[in-house]
């Protein structure tokens, strides 16, 4: 095998004129070959070669790269260079390799590289855009090697920033993503690097930037650029993206030592940034200029800053006060979490008590006269779901639920209006519907759900199902009615995972109220769903919580559930937990399901990504293994299975081996029975099964087998099993294992059985040979690493 990259890089490292001339000519030739490459793979290989030596003739390397990136017909024409199914993947690889060449030239030809970066960062093709951003990010990075081993200093950062600043203001929006990733790097304060300092040594370095005048200038320009983009951006999500870059910029370095100077620089920048924040949040008249989500994101940042940056405390506090004083934001701050949790501690008694008092007062204050005002306020809070994380709405959900429980008519009207007008409050309908159930305003629940069905509001159905909670917060049980069961059983899932999840959960939680009907519906859903694997955790949890009683399952439903457990692609922890629960009632069902899976695995594609089926998992449930071991009739039930199975290797035999490997007592008993027959069929079956047990080979079993037969193929199989190993540690790990096995075989040299004696002699010799070979390979590996390190 010849490694072209090694050859070319070694020649490129020579200093002689002739060698340099050769490399320059080679780069030109590679460029020419790329242009007429027969397929993508060839072009990719050539680009890899080019990236290794591009630094020796940058202009020619750039020309060759441009021909790949500029060739629109190549990029857009499928199959021109390859008819493979994986064309797109290969083409992305080609583009990435071309950018690797640009990456290699980033410090040598920054002007040209940056020209390409700016061009392709606006390309339609995502792979081109990401490639361009990757090059720009690397260029803007504070590289430890560059900073310590060259005189470039912060020039690369200054250069790339100037290029971004030179983009006309009106065009910058088109470079938003590039500006964000580059600014993030430029505004970093940590420097991290690594270097191979020996054949077996990788040294990591960490440090911080030095707050020189030039760096301060670079940082202020970068901050200004991001701030401008943030203020001029029209979308809240984009503003939050820029705010995140600013937030990161004033963080202290994560590693390395840094002094007061750096902290002072960050304080100064923070002071300036607080002014920017004010301009982002408020318009000239002091009204909110951005959506509530943006303000929430900023306020959270300001809170954390106020805990650590005392030098700007007054300025910071004033801005927070002004933000908090805004009545609209105050609503969000109170009811979308964040501020309260931070101030009083998450889940603290004081927090809960304050919140309870505030909620009660608020709910009390809502009346039919002012309900319109409150409806619009609730809508405003609900709208923030577009940019605020869902978990932060817990407080708001609690409020809505209590509001619906205490003022059902008003809550009903607000939700009905929101549903009618397509408002955001409808996405919180589960809380309002639950509140209506809690207060026994079931007619209002029915009316809203009827409306959902009448208008076929598909997105609302999971929320309706979510409202069918049994006892929220451990309070009094909510009565589950026939009408609700009717609705659950009538829902059409149509492959909607979210809806299936909510409906299944509601059925499971309430199954004790209407066991026969709901358990049937649960099994029906699991049988029909293509996502049934994802639903098993809910089923297992409901068994553990005793929401579901397997004894209430009709025989037909239990059979259906077993079929589901046989058919799910992965026999994961949850599936095994359910089987164990079934086994507690009927132990034979465990074996029935496992044997069913082994049988089903016979015809399925194991290695297909789309249709993968793993009959017996690598990680086996301890409880299930124990329960199987405790089955007295287990061995007698398994032996007929082996009688029917052939002696040739089959996936079924492999899976049986994996199963027995997980249930050790069962394995030894079954194998003893098979070996004791002395028939070769049984011996082969044992050997094939042992291959799939990831344990240290049991020498006794092999000795028993070879003691019964002269069949050399069986001997060879035993020998191969002794010469294989799973995980080992250390370079000489295999050598140690083989030596240990050879040692363990020595007592059999004195065996009275001549077969055993001969086998032991051969196996010991084999194992010691293997051990020696492993030792030599380990030594060679060490030398190869030295060669690679020395170049």
């Amino acid at each position: 095998m010849i490694n072209k990259k090694i050859i070319l890089s070694k020649i490129a490292a020579l200093k002689g004129e002739e060698a340099c001339r050769y490399v320059s000519r080679a780069i030109k030739n590679i460029g020419a070959r790329i242009n007429c490459a027969g397929d993508l793979d060839q072009a990719v290989d050539l680009l890899e070669l080019l990236a290794v030596v591009a630094y020796k003739a940058p202009e020619k390397a750039l020309e060759a790269t441009a021909s790949v990136l500029d060739d629109n017909s190549l990029i857009n024409t499928q199959g021109r260079r390859s008819g493979q199914d994986l064309f797109r993947t290969s083409h992305d690889t080609l583009i990435n390799k071309a950018f690797d060449v640009l990456l290699a030239l980033r410090y040598l030809k920054p002007e040209e590289v940056m020209k390409s970066v700016l061009l392709y960062s606006r390309a339609q093709s995502e792979s081109l855009r990401l490639g361009a951003e990757r090059v720009a990010t690397e260029m803007a990075k504070y590289d430890y090697g560059i900073l310590t081993k060259t005189n470039l200093g912060y020039q690369p950062q200054r250069f790339i920033l100037d290029k971004l600043l030179n983009i006309p203001q009106n065009d910058r929006i088109g470079f938003a993503s590039l500006i964000k990733v580059v600014s993030k790097e430029i505004l970093a304060t940590s420097i991290i690097g690594h270097e191979t300092t020996g054949p077996n040594t990788l040294t990591m370095y960490s440090s911080s930037v030095a707050p020189t005048e030039s760096l301060r200038g670079i940082r202020m320009d970068a901050l200004g650029l991001v701030a401008d983009m943030c203020i001029s951006s029209q979308k809240d999500a984009e503003k939050i993206g820029y705010l995140n870059v600013l937030r990161e910029s004033i963080k202290e370095p994560m590693h390395g030592n840094y002094g007061e100077n750096l902290l002072l620089m960050l304080e100064e920048e923070l002071k300036w940034l607080l002014g920017v924040y004010r301009r982002v949040v408020f318009d000239d008249k002091g009204a909110l200029a951005v959506g509530l989500g943006v303000v929430a994101s900023m306020d959270e940042h300001l809170y954390w800053l106020s805990r650590t940056r005392h030098a700007c405390g007054a300025l910071l506090g004033r801005l927070r006060e002004d933000i908090a004083a805004n009545p609209v934001y105050a609503l969000l701050d109170c009811y979308v979490g964040g501020g309260d949790e931070i101030a009083y501690g998450f889940g603290s008694d004081e927090l809960m008590s304050r919140r309870g008092v505030r909620n009660d007062a608020l709910i009390e204050s809502v009346s039919s006269e002012n309900s319109g005002v409150w409806a619009s306020r609730f809508e405003m809070v609900a709208t923030a779901r577009d940019v605020v994380d869902d978990w932060k709405f817990t407080v708001f959900r609690d409020l809505l639920r209590n509001f619906a429980a205490k003022k059902p008519e008003l809550a009903f009207k607000m939700l009905a209006d929101s549903m009618k007008n397509g408002g955001s409050l409808r996405f919180f309908s589960s809380s309002i519907l639950l509140g209506l159930r809690m207060s026994s305003n079931l007619d209002l629940w029915d009316r809203l759900v009827n409306q959902v069905e009448q208008d076929d509001m598909a997105e609302m159905r999971p929320l309706v199902a979510d409202s069918l909670v049994r006892n929220p917060d451990g309070q009094e049980l909510i009565r589950f009615r026939k009408e609700e069961a009717d609705w659950l059983c009538a829902v059409k899932y149509e492959g909607d995972l979210r809806l299936e999840y909510s409906v299944l959960r509601a059925m499971l939680i309430n199954s004790l109220d209407d066991p026969g009907r709901l358990t049937s519906a649960v099994v029906k859903l699991l049988k029909q769903s293509k996502f049934n694997q994802y639903h098993l955790p809910s089923l297992e949890a409901s068994l553990m919580n005793k929401w579901l009683d397997l004894s209430s399952f009709a025989p037909k439903d239990l059979r259906g559930l077993k079929k589901v457990l046989v058919s799910v692609p992965s026999f994961d922890w949850h599936a095994q937990g359910i089987v164990l629960a079934i086994g507690k009632q009927d132990p034979s069902s465990m074996l029935e399901i496992l044997l069913g899976r082994i049988k089903m695995g016979r015809g399925r594609k194991r290695f297909s990504l789309e249709d993968r089926y793993e009959p017996i998992p690598h990680h086996f449930h301890d409880g299930l293994a124990k329960a199987l071991s405790a089955m007295p009739e287990l061995v007698s039930r398994l032996i007929p299975w082996f009688e029917k199975a052939g002696e040739r290797w089959s996936p079924m035999l492999a899976d049986m081996g994996r199963l027995l490997g997980n249930v050790k007592t069962m394995a030894s008993e079954v194998m003893d029975v098979l070996i004791s027959t002395g028939q070769e069929k049984g011996l082969w079956q044992v050997l094939y099964m042992l291959k799939f047990q990831h344990n240290e080979p049991d020498l006794e079993v092999f000795i028993k087998i070879v003691g019964l037969t002269d069949n050399k193929k069986i001997w060879a199989e035993c020998m191969a099993a002794l010469s294989s190993a799973g995980g080992v540690y250390g370079e000489d790990g295999l050598a140690r294992i083989f030596k240990a096995r050879a040692e363990a075989l020595k007592p059999f040299l004195g065996s009275e059985n001549s077969r055993v004696k001969t086998f032991a002699e051969e196996a010991i010799k084999n194992l010691l040979d293997h051990a020696e070979r492993e030792r030599v390979e380990a030594e060679e590996e060490r030398e190869l690493r030295r060669i690679e390190f020395e170049g």
């Binding site: 490694n3 050769y22 070959r33 030599v776 060679e780 060669i787």
Partner: protein, 119 residues
Amino acid sequence: MELVSVSESFAKTRLKYLDSLNDFGEKLMFYQAFVFLLPPFYMDERGQAKRAMMRDILSIDEAEESELVSHLKRTGRLKVINGGLMVLVSADDAKVALEELWMSKADAMSTLIDGFLGI
């Protein structure tokens, strides 16, 4: 990585330049340079294809190759790990040999390397 293969045109061109390579010293330098350029280089069956190509390029037989290897070992430039992996004692020596070869036989070296790289 690709299998060792030498095109017909490359073989012809190579002969044109290297048939005159008779000097033992030059062959030693070539051999050393190839061990440097084409790692890993094995003396046992793993290196058969690569060494056959080397012998073809240098127009030598197995006995001559053995003599070259023995000489390089004797002079402390090469060592063989457990009879398998061939390792240069000093990569710098090999670089000097390669530089010299390039100065004295630039065309031949270019042709050879083009052949290796397939360009």
